[in-house]
C-alpha cells in the first residue's frame, strides 16, 4: 500500500517533468533558432537547413554592433522606456492611491474609465496623435513618443496600483493620522514603503510595455538615428528581401533587456500580479 502510493507519486513527478519539459521546449525552441540563425552567413541561410551551423559566422553580430544603427536604437529604446516608466509612476501612484483610498465624487467613474481606456486599440489613435505631436513640434522626438506610450501604460499601471493599495490595511495610515501625521506624511511614511514592491512591478510593466511597443514607434519616428529598436527592426526588413541573419541578431539584442529584467525581478512580478489581477 505504502509502496504503491510512493511509486504513484514518483510516476506523477516523472510525468510532470515530461510535461513541463515539453512546454519549456515549445517556449524556448524559437529562441534557439533565432540565436543559431544569427550565426549563419546569408548564403548558408538560403542554402542549408541544419540544427547546427556548418560554420559559425560572426558577420551579422559585427554588423549589428557597429554599422547598422542597432546600438543607437537600443539607446533610444532605453530613453523612451525610462521616460515612460518615470512618468507612468509619477501619474499612476497618486492616481491609484486616490482611487483606492480617498472619498471623492467620480471615483467609480474614474476606475471604470481606466478599464475602458484599455479597449481603445492603438491603431485607432495614431493619426490623431500625429496631429497633436506635430502641433507640439514633438515628432521624431523620443519624449514625444514616450508621451504617446503613456496612453496605455498609465491606465494599466494605475489599475494595478489601485488593487495593491486596497490590500494595505487602512488602519495603519489612520493610526499615523491620529498620531499627528499629516495625510501626505502618512502616505509617504507608511503606505508608499509598503507599496514599494507593487510600484517596482508597475514600473517594470511600463518599461517593458514601452520597450516592446511597435505601431507608434514606426509612425512617429522617421529619422534613422532616432528610431527605437522595434522600429529599427522593421527598417531592417527591407521589403524585397529579409536579411534574416541580421534581423535575428538585432532581435536577440533587443530581447535581452526585457528578458533580463524579468529574470531579476520575477518574485516581485508574481506578487504584483497577485495583488493586481487577483484582488483588483
Amino acid at each position: 500500500m505504502f509502496q504503491s502510493q510512493r511509486s504513484r507519486r514518483i510516476l506523477t513527478q516523472i510525468l510532470s517533468y515530461v510535461a513541463l519539459c515539453t512546454f519549456v521546449f515549445f517556449a524556448l525552441a524559437p529562441f534557439y533558432w533565432m540565436i543559431i540563425t544569427s550565426f549563419r552567413s546569408q548564403r548558408e541561410l538560403y542554402r542549408v537547413v541544419s540544427l547546427w551551423p556548418k560554420e559559425f559566422y560572426f558577420g551579422h553580430w559585427v554588423e549589428a554592433l557597429t554599422s547598422a544603427g542597432v546600438p543607437i536604437w537600443l539607446k533610444n529604446s532605453f530613453i523612451v522606456a525610462i521616460a515612460t516608466m518615470l512618468l507612468s509612476i509619477a501619474v499612476g501612484v497618486p492616481g491609484g492611491y486616490a482611487i483606492s483610498r480617498l472619498q471623492f465624487r467620480g471615483r467609480k467613474l474614474l476606475g471604470l474609465s481606466l478599464i475602458f481606456v484599455y479597449l481603445v486599440p492603438s491603431y485607432l489613435l495614431f493619426i490623431p496623435y500625429f496631429a497633436i505631436l506635430v502641433k507640439l513640434d514633438l515628432t521624431n522626438n523620443l519624449l514625444g513618443l514616450a508621451i504617446t506610450h503613456l496612453s496605455f501604460t498609465v491606465p494599466f499601471c494605475t489599475w494595478l496600483l489601485v488593487g495593491y493599495f486596497k490590500t494595505i490595511p487602512r488602519e495603519l495610515e489612520e493610526a499615523a493620522l491620529v498620531d499627528g501625521c499629516s495625510r501626505l506624511m502618512a502616505v509617504l511614511r507608511i503606505t508608499l514603503p509598503l507599496a514599494a514592491p507593487a510600484i517596482v512591478v508597475t514600473a517594470l510593466f511600463s518599461f517593458t510595455l514601452s520597450w516592446n511597443e511597435f505601431l507608434y514607434s514606426i509612425v512617429f519616428l522617421t529619422n534613422r538615428d532616432r528610431l527605437t529598436i522595434t522600429a529599427g527592426l522593421v527598417r531592417l526588413m527591407t521589403e524585397d528581401e529579409f536579411p534574416w541573419g541580421l534581423l535575428m541578431t538585432a532581435s536577440v539584442l533587443s530581447a535581452i533587456v526585457p528578458v533580463w529584467l524579468y529574470f531579476i525581478s520575477q518574485r516581485w512580478v508574481i506578487r504584483g500580479l497577485v495583488v493586481g489581477a487577483v484582488k483588483g
Binding site: Q42, Y46, R47, F126, N141, M237
Partner: protein, 434 residues
C-alpha cells in the same frame, strides 16, 4: 545622439515637465501658439524608398548630406519600405506636415498630384533633362499631367525574366520565349519541393499584378480602358490568363508557398536556388551579386515573355513644405544625371531615365544590363494603356489580382467567375475616383 539633438530634447523635456499633465488636455492649437518657434537653420525632410541595397541607400543619403553641408541646409534623410512610407505620408498629410520631398512610384505620384498635395517641378526637370541628354519618352510619360511635370525622375525598374543558366544548359534548353516553353522547360528540369519551375508570385502583395500582367497583356488583355475610367477585366483575355495560371498550378510548376509570400517571396525562392525562373526587378540580381556571386554568374536576364513590365520612381515636392524653393533646388543639385549613373554603377541595376546616360561605357559593355534600355523603351506600366493614376495605385494596393487568383485557386471558382469578381472590384475602385 548629436549635441544638437540632446540640446533640443532637453528643452523639450523642460517644456513637457513643466506642463506635464496639462499638455494633453489643452487643445493642441492653443499650445502651438505659445510654443517658442526659434528661427533656426533651414531644414529639409526627405523620405526615400529602400533601393534594397544598403550600399546604394547609404550613398544616396551621403550625397544628400553633402549637398546640405554645401548649401548650409540641415537635411533629414529617412529610408522606408513602401507600406511604411505610405503610412508616414498618411499621418504627415493629415497633420498638414508632410515631408518636403518624397520618393514615389508612378501611380502614387498621381494620387498625391490629384489630391493637390504636390508642387509642379517642370522647370527642374527641364534643366536636368538638358543636362542628361534628354529624358527617355517612357520615363517622361508617367511624370506629366496637363503638360506639367510633377516628379523629378530617379530611375525605372524593369521586370525581366530571370533564368538559371546552370540548370537550363545541361538540359539543352534555352531561355523560354513563349508560355508553353516556360511550362515545358519547367517540367523538364524541376524537382519539387527542392526546385520549382516558375517562382510566380500569386500572394497578396505588390509583385503579383506585375507577374500576372505580362501573361495577361500577351493574350490581349489590359486592366484599364485608355481613359483609365473603365475596368477591362471582364474580357476573354482575363479568363484565358487565369486558366493558364490554373494550368501551371495544377502542373505544380508554381511553388505552393506562393500564397503566403510577401513581395520578397519570389526573391527568396530564387536566391535560395529553389526556382529556375522568376520575374522581378533587378534588385534580386543586385542581391545575388552582393551575397552569392556564383548565383549571379549563373543568372540570365531576358525580356519577359509577352511583355516586360516597368515601374518608375520619382521625387515629388510637397506643396505644404515651408521651403519649396529650397526643395526644388535640392533636387536640381542632388538628383543630377551623373549622380544617378554613379548609384546605378555601384550595383543598383536600374534603368536610368536620361538618354545621355545610356552612352556611358557601363551600358555599352553589354552583359546583364545590355538590354536595360530596351526594357524601358518597350516596357509597359501597369496602368497601360491608361496613364498612371490614383485608381491604378489602389488597384495594386487593394489586391485586385491576388483576389482573382485566390478566388480561382483557393475558393474553387471558375476562371470566368474570378474574372467577373475582379472586374467588379476594379470598377468599384474606379468609380470612387470619378
Amino acid at each position: 545622439m548629436s549635441k544638437e539633438t540632446s540640446r533640443i530634447s532637453r528643452r523639450e523635456f523642460l517644456k513637457i515637465a513643466g506642463t506635464a499633465a496639462t499638455v494633453s488636455v489643452v487643445s493642441p492649437g492653443l499650445l502651438s501658439a505659445c510654443a517658442p518657434k526659434a528661427e533656426e537653420k533651414k531644414k529639409l525632410t526627405v523620405f526615400g524608398l529602400t533601393t534594397w541595397s544598403g550600399v546604394v541607400d547609404d550613398m544616396l543619403g551621403a550625397m544628400l548630406t553633402a549637398w546640405g553641408q554645401g548649401a548650409g541646409v540641415e537635411v533629414e534623410w529617412s529610408v522606408f519600405q513602401w507600406v511604411q512610407l505610405e503610412q508616414e505620408l498618411a499621418a504627415g498629410l493629415q497633420a498638414k506636415a508632410p515631408p518636403d520631398i518624397a520618393l514615389l512610384m508612378e501611380n502614387n505620384l498621381h494620387y498625391y498630384r490629384a489630391a493637390g498635395n504636390l508642387l509642379e517641378v517642370t522647370d527642374v526637370v527641364d534643366d536636368l533633362s538638358a543636362e542628361g541628354g534628354g529624358l527617355m519618352e517612357a520615363a517622361r510619360a508617367i511624370l506629366e499631367h496637363d503638360n506639367k511635370v510633377w516628379g523629378v525622375p530617379f530611375w525605372n525598374n524593369p521586370w525581366p525574366l530571370y533564368a538559371r543558366k546552370d540548370i537550363l544548359e545541361p538540359a539543352g534548353l534555352s531561355v523560354p520565349t513563349t508560355w508553353d516553353e516556360l511550362l515545358s522547360a519547367s517540367l523538364a528540369v524541376q524537382n519539387p519541393p527542392d526546385l520549382y519551375g516558375y517562382g510566380m508570385s500569386l500572394g497578396a502583395n505588390d509583385d503579383t499584378p506585375y507577374n500576372f500582367a505580362p501573361l495577361f497583356w500577351s493574350l490581349g488583355g489590359a486592366f484599364l480602358s485608355e481613359d483609365g475610367k473603365t475596368s477591362m477585366l471582364d474580357s476573354q483575355a482575363t479568363v484565358d490568363a487565369l486558366s493558364l495560371v490554373k494550368k501551371w498550378w495544377d502542373a505544380e510548376i508554381v511553388p505552393p508557398g506562393t500564397f503566403g509570400w510577401d513581395a520578397g517571396g519570389n526573391n527568396k525562392i530564387y536566391l535560395s536556388g529553389q526556382a529556375v525562373f522568376i520575374s522581378n526587378p533587378p534588385s534580386v540580381y543586385a542581391s545575388a551579386r552582393a551575397n552569392d556571386p556564383e548565383l549571379a554568374d549563373n543568372t540570365l536576364l531576358a525580356p519577359m515573355i509577352g511583355e516586360t513590365a516597368v515601374d518608375g520612381w520619382s521625387w515629388a515636392v510637397f506643396k505644404d513644405s515651408p521651403n519649396v524653393d529650397l526643395a526644388k533646388r535640392c533636387l536640381r543639385e542632388w538628383m543630377r544625371p551623373a549622380a544617378i549613373e554613379t548609384l546605378i554603377e555601384q550595383g543598383a541595376y536600374r534603368c536610368p531615365p536620361y538618354k545621355g546616360l545610356y552612352e556611358e561605357e557601363y551600358w555599352k559593355a553589354g552583359g546583364v544590363v545590355g538590354q536595360f534600355r530596351e526594357y524601358l523603351e518597350n516596357g509597359r506600366y501597369l496602368a497601360y494603356p491608361a496613364p498612371p493614376s490614383p485608381a491604378a495605385g489602389e488597384m495594386i494596393k487593394a489586391m485586385v489580382v491576388p483576389n482573382m487568383v485566390s478566388a480561382l485557386l483557393v475558393e474553387g471558382k471558375t476562371a470566368k467567375e474570378a474574372a467577373a469578381a475582379g472586374h467588379a472590384q476594379l470598377q468599384a475602385i474606379l468609380d470612387k475616383y470619378k
